[in-house]
């Protein structure tokens, strides 16, 4: 027994002495007010290979090239989101707080009211027509239709059967934005090409159903489609399954999905959360924060794009790539108007 006690005590003494030593050396001056950035992740937290990781990359970019300091919280559950936002907003040193994902909409509205002198930004903020966006909140919106237009153009030029497919998750205005952009892109380069369109459902579950995604994709491939673009979340994983099985092409969404079916993923339409986070931090730092209305990220702002790297480069002919780059330029210069709905 004595041994146990003495062991415990010695560990305690040892640690506390190291600590005391360290705490003496490390007394930092407190940061100037409103100089730091706060960010609250969605429940997935860092390591989700999607929005959360992208947002984190945006923070790191801002630290490296703007020299800002940041603090972030990875909340555990639903009731922690508001607390986390409050906790960051209540710190004097923090001037702007980000919420990653639409689920923060209500919480940010609440907390923004309680901290009128702090700024907030919310990725994929959900609008409520009965409530105005608070003046100190920036909703971050992406022009998914523009990115979809470019991958549509790639599909339209590369199809051999003149039939391509689109599979959406839940039938909703948001996913229709992907669809109409894609269709416009296909038709722009190949007016004779047919676009098959299918949705997995009309409810939230339509984003979580890979079996349904595979079934829809197999049906489109067997009707002659040789490239399918999906905007269907987890349901889209079934599309890649089908592509591998039928040895046809699929196009990924939101992030680079090459690894879902290497060799069969033609490209992916990516939404760049990192760019959005970085740009808003930059504008805020320069005193150009313009709250109350959405900040839109399209091709022009590099907020959406398609993947063209060493892995999928062999799949896309140089000629196609050049043409798509030219289309990108024309969209940015507003020579092409990409439909929204």
């Amino acid at each position: 027994m004595k041994k146990v006690i003495s062991a415990v005590l010695s560990v305690l003494v040892l640690t506390s002495s190291t600590l005391l030593f360290e705490s003496c050396g490390k007394s930092q001056p407190s940061a100037p007010p409103n100089s730091e950035v706060g960010l609250v992740f969605d429940v997935g937290g860092r390591g989700d290979k999607s929005f959360n990781d992208q947002a984190y990359r945006g923070l790191v970019m801002a630290k490296d090239s703007l020299g800002i300091k940041y603090q972030y919280i990875e909340p555990g559950g639903g009731s922690d989101r508001e607390s986390a936002l409050r906790q960051l907003a209540s710190q004097k040193s923090i001037g702007i707080v980000f919420g990653v994902g639409f689920i923060f909409t209500d919480d940010i509205n609440q907390v923004a009211k309680a901290f009128p002198n702090k700024k907030f930004a919310c990725i994929d903020y959900t609008y409520d027509s009965t409530k105005a966006v608070p003046k100190n909140v920036i909703p971050i919106e992406f022009r998914e239709n523009e990115g979809s237009f470019l991958v549509g153009a790639i599909a339209g030029m590369m199809t051999k059967t003149n039939i391509v497919g689109f599979i959406g998750g839940m039938e909703s205005p948001l996913i229709r934005k992907f669809q109409v952009g894609y269709q416009a892109g296909v038709k722009y380069v190949n007016p004779k090409c047919k676009v098959l369109v299918a949705y997995a459902g009309v409810t939230g579950d339509a984003f979580k159903n890979p079996a349904k995604g595979k079934e829809l994709a197999l049906a489109q491939y067997s009707r002659g489609a040789d490239i399918i673009y999906h905007a269907a979340g987890v349901t889209g994983l079934g599309v890649f399954d089908a592509a591998r099985e039928m040895k046809k092409y699929a196009i990924g969404v939101d992030m680079d999905q090459w690894n879902e079916a290497p060799g069969y993923v033609l490209t992916s339409m990516v939404k760049k959360g990192d760019v959005a986070v970085y740009d808003i931090i930059k504008e805020w730092k320069e005193g150009k924060f313009n709250g109350g209305k959405p900040r839109v990220f399209g091709l022009k702002d590099n907020g959406v794009d398609f993947v063209y790297d060493k892995e999928n480069k062999p799949l896309i002919p140089e000629k196609v790539y050049k043409k798509v780059q030219q289309l990108r330029q024309e969209i940015i210069e507003r020579k092409i108007e990409v439909p929204n709905e």
């Binding site: 027994m1 600590l19 705490s23 429940v43 559950g77 639903g78 689920i103 309680a114 579950d205």
Partner: protein
């Protein structure tokens, strides 16, 4: 001499030991946690000082702590009352999901009912929802002998899937994962509507319901004939049967009551905070309830104290998350739980040794 016997008496008293031992354990687990904090390159003194000052040092922090404590009391009581009957209720998570969902569901369809009816109605809805989810494994155990551990775990899955299906498909506000708001008369006021110093923290008067539930459980288990039967079944079911106590009835009853208490979690989140049910609102509160019941020694008032500790750890975890990664926060919480629950024997020995030495020294 008289003084010395008094001191011995004081430290050797079981109640004192029951109180001191968990505190020892917590202190020691914080010391071990400090090593982990050092490993990730932070200063444990700073981390701990932030943890304590922001949970216990401000009324906002205390409000957050109490808000976290409330559901843990319900979950802890739910597990504890089943323990008393010798049953292991792993299903508090599912029971509280169903209960909270029922509260939200009844709340959204009963607009216009006056508050003095609406509030009891919503509380009852939660108790019925959770109660049904506790009754099912209780009934299966009593009638078929199917083990309640497996059945409650399975019912957790079913509850999560059911609630997710209903919330995403049938009862959600478009483009969200939550239900519409409940009737305004069903809202339980927050502390900050009365005490402005709690401003911003979601703590609300449902914590009084939790304390009331603890008193009720204590009275029922310790002071009534039904509670006596329940305890006998828990201690020795064969002897209970022999003594004319229906084991089946008590199994069903305790599981149903346990479920109903877990179902009260909705009073805190749905009626007192968000005013709607949101998918994923609870992340393991029901499982934490097991630890709370164990630490609280299955005593309703012990459960309240244990829930306060875990409530502090939960909110404290969020507070220090800007300094250390979320994984470390989980490790810290788990270390505290392991130490507190497993150290009972060790610390009792240390305490006895300590007393011995002290008395020897005094005698010298």
């Amino acid at each position: 001499m008289a003084d010395q016997t008094k001191r011995r008496h004081w430290l050797e008293h079981p109640a004192t030991q029951n109180f001191l031992i968990p505190i020892f354990a917590v202190v020691l687990s914080f010391a071990v946690g400090a090593i982990f904090i050092l490993i990730v390159g932070q200063n444990p003194f700073q981390v701990y000082s932030v943890l304590f000052s922001q949970t216990l040092g401000t009324s906002y922090g205390i409000g957050q702590l109490l808000f976290k404590t409330t559901p843990l009391i319900f979950a802890g009581l739910s597990v504890a009352i089943c323990f008393k009957a010798g049953l292991f209720n792993i299903g508090a998570e599912g029971q509280l999901q169903i209960g909270a969902f029922m509260t939200a569901l009844v709340g959204m369809y009963t607009v216009g009912v006056p508050a003095f009816l609406e509030i009891p109605l919503l509380i009852l809805a939660g108790m019925i929802g959770g109660g049904i989810w506790g009754f099912i494994p209780g009934y299966l155990k009593a009638k078929t002998g199917a083990h309640e551990v497996i059945n409650t775990i399975m019912l957790n899955f079913i509850a999560a899937a059911l609630v997710s299906f209903f919330v995403t498909n049938l009862f959600n506000v478009p483009a969200t994962v939550h239900t519409p708001e409940i009737a305004p008369t069903g809202k339980i006021p927050r502390f900050d509507t009365i005490f402005s110093s709690f401003s911003g923290s979601p703590v609300n008067f449902s914590i009084l319901i939790a304390i009331l539930a603890a008193v009720a459980v204590w009275y029922y288990v310790d002071k009534t004939r039904y509670g006596y039967e329940l305890r006998v079944v828990g201690l020795n079911s064969k002897a209970a049967e022999y003594g004319g106590i229906s084991v089946a009835k008590n199994i069903i009853l305790s599981m149903t009551i346990g479920g109903a208490i877990a179902g009260l979690v909705g009073t805190n989140y749905v009626m007192g905070y968000k005013y709607y049910f949101e998918e994923g609102f609870s992340t393991g509160t029901g499982f934490m309830g097991i630890a709370v019941a164990l630490l609280g020694n299955n005593n309703p008032f012990g459960v309240i104290l244990a829930a306060l500790l875990f409530g502090m750890l939960e909110y404290g975890g969020l507070v220090i998350n800007t300094m250390v990664p979320k994984e470390l926060v989980s490790i810290l919480q788990a270390i505290v739980i392991i130490f507190v629950i497993s150290s009972n024997k060790i610390f009792r020995k240390i305490l006895v040794n300590f007393i011995k030495k002290r008395t020897l020294r005094v005698n010298d």
